[in-house]
């Protein structure tokens, strides 16, 4: 008889304790599990540094006591910039590791492929550095972007080019892949709708190519005032070198993917760099005291990894996640976290060039960016072409 009461008591105890823990997955009394994923290997591994920066921010937070009494437990997965692998990674994090939220993705085609499943699952998903505008357009309640979309970037680049006095002839060179297109297409729309112009030259240059002569000659033939380049780092450097070789000496602008110091080193000629402007998403150049905190965090937790702007790019999103966790309070649920993000207004992450702004109908948080260029041998952040006296 007593056994029966004991059994009943045990069952009740289990049910009650189960009830107390029937919270969202990934949460325990003192930890929050965050699934971080990105291209840690493969041809886009250079952009996977963003995930290392993100993890470093969470490590630093843990070292300072965590958030609302909980430490962050990061589960890191590789997508190799491949949609099939990326879907597997997100499913593993959601279904097997049971994370509280996802923070990752630097390849837009991977993010677009895994997005439907993530939306259906309801898991909060803060995108790391993937920049295609379609990720948050149309808006999904649980998906947020924390870097400037390629659409924003393309528009900003056009706007910057047009601040050059008397600029009328704009040339465009881009990759024909998804990333290149996603910057190229909105740029052309901006050029048409805001300035009623079409590009005087619009050429493609493939990833992995080692020669840009036909492209440079075509552009040179069109006599442009400014060249917009939606190219990856190696190809941009090759373009710049060849442009100089054939006497195409006009200002050009590179995208968010470009690290201007690396480009300077690859081009190896300061005279060429005088004409180079790069869309810059961070608040200051590396080495400036303003962003020293994040530079230090990155190098502390990733010894031996070469630091450049890609590594820092995702850290703003991590600051936003931490802020939203803080606002959601110790009685944490996914719904509260999402609500906190939705109400993040004018949030200065400290590391990004512009504050993050979210609302229930707008999840592309960053709406601007600066431009970086060399004046002499110093790096300077500007917003208009005429800001830099060269």
């Amino acid at each position: 008889m007593r056994m029966r009461w004991l059994a009943l008591g045990a069952i009740l105890a289990i049910c009650l304790s189960g009830g107390a823990q029937a919270a969202d997955p990934g949460l325990t009394k003192n930890s929050i599990k965050i699934g971080v994923f990105g291209p840690l290997t493969g041809p886009a591994a250079a952009f996977g540094k963003a995930q290392l920066g993100i993890r470093a921010v969470y490590d630093d937070l843990n070292e300072h006591g965590g958030i609302n009494g909980r430490k962050i437990e990061v589960v890191l997965e590789d997508t190799a910039c491949d949609p099939a692998k990326g879907i597997a990674a997100s499913k593993k994090l959601i279904a097997q590791d049971q994370v509280f939220l996802l923070h990752g993705g630097s390849c837009s085609n991977v993010v677009m492929a895994l997005k439907p499943d993530v939306i259906a699952s309801g898991v909060p998903y803060v995108v790391a550095t993937a920049a295609n505008a379609s990720i948050t357009d149309p808006v999904a309640p649980n998906v947020f972007q924390t870097v400037a979309t390629t659409a924003t970037m393309g528009r900003t680049m056009v706007d910057f080019a047009m601040t050059k006095p008397d600029a009328k002839r704009i040339a465009v060179i881009s990759h024909s892949d998804e990333w290149g297109k996603s910057g190229h297409d909105p740029a052309l729309v901006e050029l048409k709708t805001k300035f009623d112009l079409t590009p005087v030259a619009d050429v493609t240059f493939e990833r992995g190519s080692i020669n840009a002569t036909p492209q440079v000659l075509q552009i040179k033939n069109a006599n442009p005032d400014f060249v917009l380049a939606f190219l990856y780092p190696a190809e941009y450097a090759i373009f710049l070198r060849e442009a100089s070789k054939y006497g195409l000496n006009v200002p050009s602008m590179g995208s968010q993917a470009i690290s201007i110091q690396d480009t300077a080193q690859q081009v190896g000629n300061p005279a060429i760099m005088k004409n180079v402007y790069v869309f810059y998403p961070l608040a200051a150049q590396i080495g400036d005291a303003k962003i020293a905190r994040w530079v230090d965090i990155f190098t502390k937790y990733n010894p031996g990894v070469r630091l450049e702007s890609n590594g820092l790019l995702g850290m703003g999103g991590a600051e936003a996640v931490i802020e939203a966790l803080r606002q959601a309070g110790p009685d944490l649920t996914r719904a509260k976290f999402l609500a906190a993000l939705d109400n993040l207004h004018n949030f200065d992450t400290g590391i990004l060039a512009a504050p993050l702004e979210f609302s229930p109908t707008h999840h592309a948080g960053m709406n601007g960016g600066a431009t970086i260029t060399y004046v002499g041998d110093k790096l300077v952040l500007i917003h208009k072409f005429t800001d830099a006296q060269k």
Partner: protein, 289 residues
Amino acid sequence: MLAQLVVSGIGQGSIYALVALGMTILFRVTTVVNFAHGELFMFSAFVIYLLLNAFDVPYLLAALAAILVLFVLGSVVERVLMRPIRHAPHMALAMMTVALSYLLRGVVRMGWGGDVRSLPPMFTFDPVMLGTVVLAAQDIVTIGATLLLVAGFFVLLQRSRFGKLAQAATDSPRGAALIGLNVPGFHRTMWGVAAAMAAIAGILVAPVTLLYPDMGAQVLVRAFAAMTLGGFGNLGGAVAGGLLMGVLEQLAGFYVSTAMIDIASYIVIIVVLLSRPAGLFGRVERVRV
């Protein structure tokens, strides 16, 4: 404009020619198509990078060391990977070289990550102006090296005793063995030589192309097109094919569309193989099937 494109095309094409030459020599002698040649080229560039940056070795010495390292690597590859399966069907041999290419890529990626590195240019003299046409120093050197090498190998393979032995070893390995030729050793040497040629290409070209683990892939495709165009197994054909491919790409890219540059190689391959498989200068090779 046309002149500039042709000149630039020849400069570019000499890179393809150099790579195609290395692949053709190996094919001529061992009837193996080396899908890893692009990665050998990439690997040699990283060897130089390592020597320059980690050990502060002077450039010329680093270049020579890279050639040596690649020669050894080629020999090792032949002994360890290719010799055990030399009687296997072509498929297996091709797959082995593909596996090797992935291995090299993986090793380099492990060591240097995905960052793009750069090598300082070997020659820093100003470009030469032929009228309004610009000819970069780099291009002149590459063209010169290619012509020198093809002439050298032509003499070696067609006129020297070594060449006759090479021909014997290829046409009839058994017969050659019977008269005392060390056929496996000969194959090993030629693999080393082919790898060394990839190293020469790497030394000349890497400062222009920038270094990253995937840099070999595009060059390999162009080299294939060059070999196909010139005729598989024909040394002069490989070089002519490479130069032609370079010029073709530039012209197609400028006059038709820059989108054509990418697929010029594929179109050439398909057109040539469907209409005249022997290429421009080739004779029909008897390939072991």
